[in-house]
Symmetry: C2
Subunit: 271 residues, 2 copies
């Protein structure tokens, strides 16, 4: 374990950049994940192979006894509690974080049966992370990000997944840059053509006027769509949807939180 | 409309204190709520009578055309966009906020039928606000805060309710201070004795081993219990519960977000 004291240390600066800069995360395919339990899943090989732990950072306040059993070859850096707090997205940091490398995997939709979540221009990192966490909990096979969604590897998104991120497959439309062309689909239409060809039903959640969530039967191949927090699902996707569902509500409120609505539907779908 | 230019203006300082200080909110029984739609509900009398709008603050960037139709006697203060951003809890403020006074109402549990949500030591303001929003959406009759919960009038809680707060009845154990003795119950036991006497079923949500949420029938008088984000429901409440329920999950995740879990249960209960 190497102790880093200077705030200008190059390794420390690199982690700080990962926390703060989306560009840095995109260029390095790395992101920062906090917490002993979350890192343990990576360490014991329970997570998907596309997520791999590159280095760990611990604060000097953390007893090494509570650390995950890291690979003996894993670089570990010790820093002050103060430095750790600066890196942490949490109110009170656990004092352990990891730099995780993500290797994009090609989009793969199960041909026989499957449940996928499609997020249309979701903006809030907390909602995104919570939906990924729920999607993993309800055994969904993947999350498809459509349009201009908030970044998956944003520290707030990662935190809201509460360690579920490395168990999830998240795909989005491939960026124009050639080096990221292997992940996701090339243009907006491609993903819908792929889903349609495989016989998936696109089920859009709408505030009013859809089928009652609890009265409908879901087929073996479902793509559940959750829309933007303010404007809902785009007309383009609504037109492509074969069904619309609504969550029955009795009260005085216009809508539910997007992560709540999506999770209610995923739960009912898997009941 | 009065324009305030000095950052040291006493009225402006008072609002700033309401945003920042729990003590100030408790002493004045006032809190700050943002957004045109949320304030409209107070203005048009749709909200519960215990919430009343005392004054409105608008930024100089807001077209007065989009303001709610405030009572002509309501004091309105105009401030700079910069001041508004300092007061706002939002990333980009709508430029309108109100000071809302809350008059505590005595705890009242419907004797014949009703659904209540009991939150046991809930810590996260976002979760609290989201649960209040969902409770209103699913027509719950009230939210009972048990133990050391996060403050309802915390700006982050209020924001997460997305305007639903003034439609909700939220009660908590009365503070020792004599002036707040009218709201809620006096000691930890009192609320449970009251619920039991009226024949309410205490239904605790647990991670594993409870009845399947989707297979159980709820009675006409239900208190749904959601526990602390880290430690769940306290032993004391679990022992008092007549039933335990679990949300069926298939995936690799230990738990759901507390607001998600509570909302799934409320939705299923009202289906």
């Amino acid at each position: 374990m190497q102790t880093i004291i200077s705030k200008d240390n190059a390794k420390l600066k690199a982690v700080r950049a990962l926390v703060r800069s989306k560009k840095e995360r995109q260029e390095t395919s790395c992101f920062v994940m906090e917490g002993v339990r979350a890192l343990s899943a990576l360490t014991d090989g329970a997570a998907l192979p596309q997520y791999s732990l590159k280095e760990a950072w611990v604060s000097d306040k953390v007893a090494t006894a509570s650390l995950p059993r890291f690979d003996p070859d894993l670089p570990i850096f010790q820093i002050s509690h103060e430095f750790m707090e600066q890196l942490s997205d949490c109110h009170t940091s656990q004092g352990v974080l990891g730099v995780v490398e993500y290797t994009p995997v090609p989009l793969e939709i199960h041909p026989d049966k499957g449940n996928y979540l499609l997020l249309d221009r979701l903006m809030d990192p907390g909602n995104m992370g919570t939906l990924i966490r729920s999607a993993v909990a309800f055994g969904f096979d993947g999350v498809l990000l459509h349009g201009d969604c908030v970044e998956v590897f944003n520290p707030k998104t990662v935190r809201a997944t509460m360690g579920a991120l490395p168990f999830s497959n998240v795909w989005k439309q491939a960026e124009p840059a050639p080096d990221s062309s292997s992940n996701g689909w090339k243009n907006g239409d491609e993903i819908f053509q792929c889903l349609e060809k495989l016989g998936y039903e696109l089920v859009s959640t709408v505030l009013r006027g859809g089928e009652n969530l609890y009265e409908m039967e879901f087929g073996p191949k479902t793509v559940l769509v959750i829309g933007n927090e303010a404007s809902g699902i785009s007309d383009e996707i609504l037109e492509r949807s074969s069904r619309r569902i609504s969550i029955p509500m009795s009260g005085n409120v216009e809508s539910l939180n997007a992560a709540v609505a999506g999770s209610i539907c995923m739960s009912a779908l898997c009941r």
